[in-house]
Point group: C2
Amino acid sequence: MTAHATRTARRRDPSTSAAAGREAVLKAALEAFFAHGYHDTSMRKIADGAGTVISHAYYYFPSKVEILRTLMIGVTTDLIVILEAARDAAGADPVERLAALVRNHVRLHTERQAESFVANTELRSLSATERQEVVDLRDHIATLFKDVVDDGLQQGRFTTPHRDEAVLAIITMCTAVAGWYRTDGPKAPEAIADAYVDLALGMVGYAAPSAG
Amino acid sequence: MTAHATRTARRRDPSTSAAAGREAVLKAALEAFFAHGYHDTSMRKIADGAGTVISHAYYYFPSKVEILRTLMIGVTTDLIVILEAARDAAGADPVERLAALVRNHVRLHTERQAESFVANTELRSLSATERQEVVDLRDHIATLFKDVVDDGLQQGRFTTPHRDEAVLAIITMCTAVAGWYRTDGPKAPEAIADAYVDLALGMVGYAAPSAG
DNA sequence: GGTCAATTTGAGCGAATGTTCAATCAAGGT
DNA sequence: ACCTTGATTGAACATTCGCTCAAATTGACC
């Protein structure tokens, strides 16, 4: 089946060799960063976790911080794509749109908890240039929420006089889920997402049409 | 005035020498932890910031982590005292009580921003025993909010079906203020506190008695 | 002036850190 | 069988880390 594969294939099978090694390093680094933090994780521990040696980890990544950057940028850009898709799929109603943003934000922060947690915790571990990259992505996410809330305010569906604080607080509480969620906890991700949608709507002063 | 002071006074004036040196180390450590994080702050930098040498810092504190512990325990216990006093001073109304908790929580996180930020960021930098100490204090704070929200739910003033999530999210958003507040920002601490009271009441499903 | 305890210092310890590099290995193409 | 190229390795570099300690300094009290 996997005989001659593609014509431009590398010498070794890239699906088992090269790419797999890189992924192993990424995965080991993520687990260590999540459990002990970036500065408490040494390149030796990362290499150990990936089942290799330190010098081989440097074959895939030029530096320790580049591993962190890869993880942070990856999950954050994915989050943007997911949020924008969910918002568009929710139609034009700002209530539905905000609900979709909150629901998918929470969902990703449970499904990819480690990446999300690291991305939200280790911002200071990046140097100025790299940090700005992530900050820009975050600002973009904030804009997504801001625009939807503005829309709801203009349509009179939301009534809060504190738009900026509400948006910031909504994103903050959704993000924090990655810090306490446990797979074996009392609530499933979907139940948490439902609750957070209600909380967010309460924060923007959404007056639910009481029954019909 | 400060002539012979108390009978049991130490040889040197403790108000200018011993205590001041300790305070200088604490202050320098706090600034560095706040700006660069615990693991990116060396004892040498702390000593430099305090205007002394590394060995002298160890005269006041047995280890680097003990400095962190001192800062974290200090601000957290203070927060508890302040919150309980504010709650009691607010009377019996759960709406007033929750407002008092939120207002004072936000206030302390702006007034003592650095300590609060470090206390909320560097939990993992403590070892198990010390971490549990702080976690217990935090649990106590969570209980303060939980009890007030329960009270409001029983009295029918609050209507949220998500008590646990609401309490957690309220504390989270209040705590996060220490992460973004700027003295020269667009809003004064009191204005932020006002907004956060509104947000919190929205989260617990407080149906405001509309005019009168 | 001498005593004693509190304070302050400089030098250095061993361990751990991120990173480098020359050398080896493995396999596909010819 | 050779060549080439990507993959993998062990050893070590320089630096920084938290921390120790014996010695010096200071100032209040007799």
